[in-house]
């Protein structure tokens, strides 16, 4: 019997089992990366700054994220008397949840063919049946739009946190952040339009599949290239790639765009009044967003889970490994920037967003459109 695509209609029980397993795996891996991203950040910046970073908790501080988690968990949870309670409590959740569910649409490998007996070992009558399981929690045909929508939702958490804390620093941080995220989302969204124009699909899975084809097949003048060069969109859309990474950094409030939590100006920005686990949630959301932006940039421009060269030995490596490697490269880049660069000023940030990145992204769309039409 030919394998069939596993869906809720084909086999509800197996579908649920597989879904729960996928969610657990992605969530666990994401949270592990988040936890150890803090450790890596401290280590990398530490070594860049001629110090060691955490060394005491475990071997080279490897248990530091766990110690931090325990510490934050047991801290007193303070809600300021003047704060608006419900939004104050909701805000950190509203930041963390969109960050996590964005991971649902990111593909992390080729489709697997699994025997049904393996999924549901105790049910009968499944001999010979096998299912195709995509390595992606949810195969949305509008995956990119979902990503943008979730990124937009995160702003609510920041605004609410700033407003509900009833503190002036928090308010300023919240306002800065919402203005920043909204304006950069626009530019980021426009850079992605150029990608859709090439892929003619909004599904992240299709976009990755397209990028695995050899680059020399795209246009006649590229035929001199060897077959192993993949058609990554970073080659055809370098401007969009650079713009997307920069806008992504602005969206997740990383240096040099970390104004909302600019410690030296606004104390801690929108999370000034937060403590204990609520603070930890902001923290987790920040790092989760970093992972997500890295994953999206890798998926859209660097071939996602595809191997960097179309060579059998590389293609034998599981896709998740390549995706993680690409994510880690981006994360290292973000951390590196934090150690190197100062922070831009609020008005300069808005200027960059509206007057530099937005026109550039628009121009990129026009040029892409022209090239696509000419090549047809």
């Amino acid at each position: 019997m030919d394998p069939v695509l596993l869906s809720f209609s084909s086999d509800p029980a197996a579908f649920l089992v597989v879904m729960v397993a996928k969610i657990l795996v992605v969530f666990t891996v994401l949270m592990l990366i988040v936890a150890y991203a803090t450790w890596c950040e401290r280590k990398v910046i530490g070594h860049m700054q001629t110090r060691l970073g955490p060394m005491e908790t475990g071997w080279h501080g490897l248990l530091q994220p766990i110690a931090d988690g325990i510490k934050l968990f047991f801290k007193e949870d303070i809600i300021p008397a003047e704060a608006s309670k419900i939004p104050f409590i909701l805000a950190p959740i509203m930041i963390l949840v969109p960050a996590l569910i964005t991971a649902a649409v990111i593909p992390f490998g080729a489709d697997l063919t699994i025997p049904a007996k393996f999924i549901l070992p105790f049910s009968s009558g499944l001999e010979g049946v096998s299912y195709i399981v995509p390595q992606q929690i949810s195969e949305l045909n509008i995956g990119i739009l979902f990503v943008l929508a979730m990124a937009g939702l995160g702003v609510y958490g920041i605004v609410l946190a700033g407003w509900a804390s009833n503190s002036k620093y928090s308010l300023l941080g919240g306002l800065r952040s919402s203005a920043q995220v909204i304006s950069y989302e626009l530019a980021a969204g426009l850079t992605l339009v150029a990608v859709f124009m090439l892929s003619e699909s909004l599904s992240l899975r299709d976009i990755v599949a397209l990028q695995m084809q050899p680059l020399n097949g795209v246009a006649g003048f590229l035929s001199f290239l060897p077959d192993w060069v993949p058609n990554w969109y970073v080659f055809s859309q370098p401007v969009a790639f650079v713009l997307f990474v920069i806008c992504g950094m602005a969206e997740i409030n990383r240096t040099p765009f970390d104004l909302p939590e600019a410690e030296t100006e606004l104390v801690s920005g929108f999370c000034t009044e937060y403590s204990s686990m609520k603070y930890a949630m902001f923290f987790m959301a920040e790092y989760a967003n970093m992972v997500i932006i890295a994953a999206i940039a890798a998926t859209l421009f660097l071939g996602g889970w595809g191997a960097p060269m179309n060579i059998a030995i590389f293609q034998a490596v599981p896709g998740a490994v390549w995706l993680l490697l690409k994510i880690f490269t981006f994360m290292f880049f973000f951390i590196w920037l934090r150690a190197t660069w100062p922070r831009v000023r609020y008005d300069q940030l808005m200027f960059l967003g509206w007057k530099v990145f937005l026109p550039l992204a628009l121009a990129n769309i026009i040029v892409t459109g022209l090239v696509v039409v000419l090549l047809q």
């Binding site: 910046i45 860049m48 700054q49 001629t50 110090r51 002036k168 620093y169 300023l172 800065r176 240096t255 040099p256 970390d258 104004l259 600019a262 410690e263 030296t264 100006e265 104390v267 934090r338 150690a339 190197t340 660069w341 100062p342 922070r343 831009v344 000023r345 609020y346 008005d347 300069q348």
Partner: protein
Amino acid sequence: MANKETMTVNMGPQHPSTHGVLQLILELDGETVVKATPHIGFLHRGVEKLSEHRTYHQTIPLTDRLDYLAPMSNNLGYVLAVEKLLGITDKIPARANTIRVMLAELTRLKSHLVWLATHALDIGAMTVFLYCFREREEIIDIYEKISGARMTSNYFRVGGLSADLPAGITEDIRAFASKMPGLVDTYEGLLTGNKIWQKRTIGVGKISAEDAIDIGLTGPALRCSGVDWDLRRDNPYSGYEDYDFKVIVRDDCDTFGRYKARLDEMRESCKIILQALDKLKPGPILADCPKVCLPPKQDVVNTIEGLIHQFKIITEGFKPEVGEVYQGIEAPKGELGYYLVSDGSPQPFRMKIRPPSFVNLQALPQMVEGSLLADVIATIGTLDIVLGEIDR
């Protein structure tokens, strides 16, 4: 906009970047500063009043705690003022003067390093912070070897120094002063050419030469407004006239200019230190003024005069003649002045300190009003204030 309501923000005294306990009452219209009012006094210890009840020597440790980032400069200004009051300025031995100059310049390096570290951190460049503190640590180690203390050196004495340099320290200082210009290049490599750094500093916190003079701005802040004024050259003390150094004058009047000027000053300081090391010859480190300077321990134990002098200076102190003096020096942050009035008793009748930070802080409201909140932080950094000196 019809509704021009402003928001008042209390920045400080507990704020990560007000460099101590400065409180700024900011009136904000959005992120634009409408009005900035500095409130000071949170670190007041009454140094000036305390000194009226101490002998002249006993005040030296108090001066360490004024600008705690540049204790040797504070010591120097004070002992120079007392020496002027006593009229023994010419009797200071050459070795003592050379060491004073060398350590004053080392202190300038130390102070500028902390300034650059915190200024860069305020603007978000955190790595420079740690690089600067790494070098500052070496200066502090040198301090410790010389005076026994890392921060509050208390090393200079009226008439000279408290002790001679320990063996081997000159090599340490020479090694440090030789490598420092290269390290300054490293900092510049991280900041000067960085577009973000330039955008954050060029044109920020401008002040014209006229305004700077009216307010009484001194130090690098004044020289960056195009006023060529450096007490080391224009009113030399401790033999500064014998050193070859350049006074850094720039006319860009902004934060970037002050940043460049201070870095250049650090390079000049290294030159002065190396010159001082070359000049250093063996010799006495205390003036031959038995009524002012403590005698060597040998004399206290072996001679009756020594014992009496020691007893008199310790129990009573020395009595300058009735009169008043003002002595200003070019401290790292600007003109540090001591005004002493003597009524002939062993304690000063009045001591007034002119701390550069206190005067320079007055320029802050003018420099920040109309700019953005983030510029306030940059401007506080560029003025290089230290609250220990402002509040005294």
